[in-house]
């Protein structure tokens, strides 16, 4: 097929649940490509020789090759190609910000003058991964001969799972220590079912188990065992404890009843299945007007969850304008379609409550954009005298998370930066303690799934080399 013909194929849209329906259920919103749709979308790829898309992918997936296989209808080889570089394709195909990564430099998008018309690399990745899972024949990678070395992984989020997958394949014995009762990190406690079905994460964890990875749940490292104690049994340690420390605004009324951190709200709803209360035991407040403070994916997930829990009005309160919003466009669009109200250039100054301590409203102030700040974004400044009150009965604070300080607090030799992130060697991921590596949100601060995986991959490689060169004494 000629380039011109390929460019004439209109982008294949993905079927999705109608907004009016989906706000009443937890099911996934985009429904996935059929094989025919996937092959048609794959035909749009020009198989560029200079592969700009690969440069945009944090883990360097051979994108044109896997898309080429899909176009041929060879889905098996497509998924194998992806898995050479990405161990969680069903997850990444759904949650990666492709529009800022591989799809941003895509030649098709450039020619058609909008990233929105780039090849849908993420959707194709998702298709290949779902096809494999549904085919029931997940190919097992070959494991290298046993090395006799033992690895401890602290934290079962995407970073830890990646290290586990890579090192079990290299022949090491791998144990993952997870603080909660389930593995997956943010993928199970934060990102909602309607965006990432939990059975996908469960499936990935089971695949690792079938390769021999051992999972120990309810293990809060730093409490039950120190890093030093782990070294008595393990040759090398990876810390992937994530950015699970919720930040609050420090405004009046933040401890009123009905004020949640996004982490708490989402953990109740997702990990603890509060949407199924009282069939599941954990409660969550069912309220009619909910305001979520923030403009990232976490805020979108919270505001959309509130609708699914029965809120009549769900408001996003964000102090900058829409272009500055860190959330993915797709999430912003989905939230708007579902009826989330966006209150932009607005900043909360206090939360008001009644006698019994319940939230009754929020006092806000209007903002305007001033000079660019350190992040290059124009700084929002309050407009004096523009204060106003909105009536709400719950507030979700989604202004960001910091690295989890628990391990560092009891491990003084472990060097951290002033935001609490563990300091690592950029090439290897090694920390200030020999044999201890770290990666993901605990190093980067709240970042992305794919970056956490990339860091895990880097650390796994260095850990393998470290263990194989280590003198046994």
């Amino acid at each position: 097929m000629k380039t011109k013909e390929r460019l004439q194929i209109p982008p294949v849209g993905m079927q999705q649940q109608a907004a009016s329906e989906r706000i009443h259920n937890q099911n996934e919103v985009p429904l996935g490509f059929t094989p025919e749709e996937a092959r048609l979308e794959a035909l749009r790829c020009l198989q560029c020789k200079n592969v700009p898309c690969i440069a945009g992918c944090p883990v360097g997936i051979d994108i044109p090759s896997f898309i080429g296989f899909i176009a041929e209808g060879n889905f098996q080889d497509a998924i194998l190609k992806i898995k050479e570089k990405n161990v969680l394709p069903a997850v990444c195909g759904r949650v990666c910000p492709q529009e800022e990564q591989c799809q941003l430099p895509c030649t098709v998008g450039k020619i058609l003058k909008t990233t929105e018309k780039s090849v849908s690399i993420g959707k194709l990745e998702r298709f290949a991964a779902d096809w494999e899972r549904n085919s029931g024949s997940v190919s097992k990678p070959k494991l290298a001969p046993k090395t006799g070395k033992r690895v401890a992984i602290v934290g079962g989020g995407p970073a830890g799972l990646t290290v586990a997958g890579d090192l079990i394949k290299s022949g090491h014995e791998v144990t993952v220590f997870e603080a909660l009762h389930k593995a997956g990190g943010v993928l199970v406690y934060g990102i909602p079912e309607f965006r990432l079905p939990k059975k996908i994460v469960k499936n990935e964890v089971e695949n690792l188990q079938s390769l021999g990875v051992e999972f120990k749940y309810n293990y809060v490292i730093g409490k039950i065992e120190s890093i030093d104690e782990l070294f008595q049994e393990y040759d090398s340690i990876f810390i992937g404890t994530g950015a699970g420390l919720p930040r609050f605004m420090g405004i009046e009324g933040e401890n009123l009843l009905g004020v949640y951190s996004a982490n708490e709200y989402l953990t109740r709803a997702n990990l603890m299945r509060a949407f199924d209360f009282p069939n599941a035991d954990t409660p969550i407040l069912n309220v009619s007007r909910v305001a979520t403070i923030g403009g990232g994916n976490v805020a979108m997930d919270s505001a959309r969850t509130a609708l699914r829990l029965g809120a009549e009005r769900s408001l996003i309160i964000y102090r900058r304008s829409e272009v500055e919003m860190p959330a993915r466009n797709e999430e912003i669009e989905h939230a708007k379609d579902e009826g989330v109200e966006f209150h932009l250039l607005v900043n909360p100054i206090r939360i008001t409550g009644n006698e019994e301590g319940w939230v009754t409203g929020m006092e806000d102030i209007k903002m305007e954009l001033g000079e660019p700040d350190a992040s290059g974004r124009r700084r929002p400044v309050p407009i004096p005298g523009s204060e106003f009150i909105v009536d709400v009965d719950a507030v979700i604070v989604a202004i960001g998370n910091s690295p989890n300080p628990l391990v560092a607090k009891v491990t003084p030799e472990l060097k951290v930066n002033r935001w609490g992130g563990i300091i690592v060697d950029e090439k290897t991921g090694e920390t200030s303690i020999k044999g201890v590596y770290a990666g993901g949100d605990i190093v980067l601060g709240a970042a992305t799934v794919i970056l956490a995986m990339g860091e895990g991959r880097r650390a796994a490689k260095a850990m393998h080399e470290y263990m194989m060169n280590e003198k046994t004494d």
């Binding site: 009762h181 406690y189 809060v220 401890n255 009282p278 035991d281 409660p283």
Partner: protein, 283 residues
């Protein structure tokens, strides 16, 4: 023996059950003042319970649970030989144990469970221990014998005068203060309202007072912030910064209100549980 297995179970007061549970790692590691978070089944809530005692050789911990809602009733209905679904711990910052002189340990109701290991450790550190235990009536006391064993002096108070002195624990404490006893520290653990009253009293005399807060928790690792509370105006997470705090710094009204966040849900859950449980028993 399986991890999380219930090895023994005893009813030690109305609606209060003591469990001995096999979980060797925690038994070895735990320190006074720490707690675990448990779940009873796959859809269960994560609830915190203090480690009341431990036997590192046997690999067991003791939990004492008062049945107040769905999860604690369900726990009380579990049998020897069954396993809990999850036990995570030891969580929380251990009690600061130090030789201070005379330490008054005040326990109210099941608050005596968390108080016991702390008293034990304070005694071991060489303090003179005066224990005040309080309850509504005689049959509600737990761990009385154990507390006696680690105390130099012991005062019992009941609201109705059915046992020991009539009055609240604060009445007994006030008497000690009035008697001019030198008091280096007060440790008070019990119902929130009791800890509040003790803290208000000792504040008048500038007696350092430690309380153990039992806010609602989920993860217990500092991840959700649901357990937060204002201490001297700053937000603290009870699961990692506590559970023990300076009683004079606690915003008690906020604490009392926050504890009631899910009152309505808790009733629904408990009623549904009791209904199903009765049906199951009949069948």
């Amino acid at each position: 023996m399986n991890n999380y297995e219930i090895l023994s179970k005893a009813n030690i007061a109305p609606q209060v059950t003591r469990f001995e549970i096999y979980v060797p790692k925690i038994a070895r590691k735990r320190q006074a003042g720490q707690f675990v978070i448990i779940r009873t089944w796959e859809g269960g809530e994560r609830i915190p319970l203090t480690i009341a005692d431990a036997n590192p050789e046997k690999g067991t911990i003791t939990l004492i649970s008062q049945s107040v809602g769905k999860t604690t009733f369900e726990l009380a209905n579990m049998q020897v030989g069954q396993c809990l679904k999850d036990i995570a711990g030891p969580l929380g910052t251990p009690t600061h144990i130090e030789k201070l002189g005379t330490v008054i340990c005040i326990g109210g109701g099941v608050g005596t469970a968390p108080l016991y290991p702390i008293t034990q450790a304070m005694k071991k550190a060489g303090n003179h221990i005066i224990t005040i235990l309080g309850a509504r009536s005689k049959d509600l006391f737990i761990l009385e014998k154990e507390m006696r064993n680690v105390s130099d002096e012991m005062i019992i108070a009941t609201d109705d005068g059915s046992y020991g002195e009539k009055g609240f624990v604060t009445t007994a404490l006030q008497k000690l203060i009035d008697d001019g006893r030198q008091i280096n520290q007060v440790i008070a653990i019990g119902p929130t309202i009791m800890m509040k009253m003790v803290s208000l009293l000792t504040k008048n005399y500038n007696i350092p007072t430690v309380v153990s807060l039992n806010t609602i928790m989920i993860d217990g690792t500092g991840m959700c912030g649901g357990c937060r509370i204002s201490i001297n105006g700053a937000i603290k997470f009870v699961c990692v910064d506590g559970p023990e705090f300076d009683g004079h710094g606690v915003n008690w009204d906020e604490m009392l209100k926050r504890m009631g966040t899910y009152k309505k849900h808790e009733c629904v859950a408990l009623n549904q549980y009791k209904k199903h449980h009765r049906e199951a028993e009949v069948a």
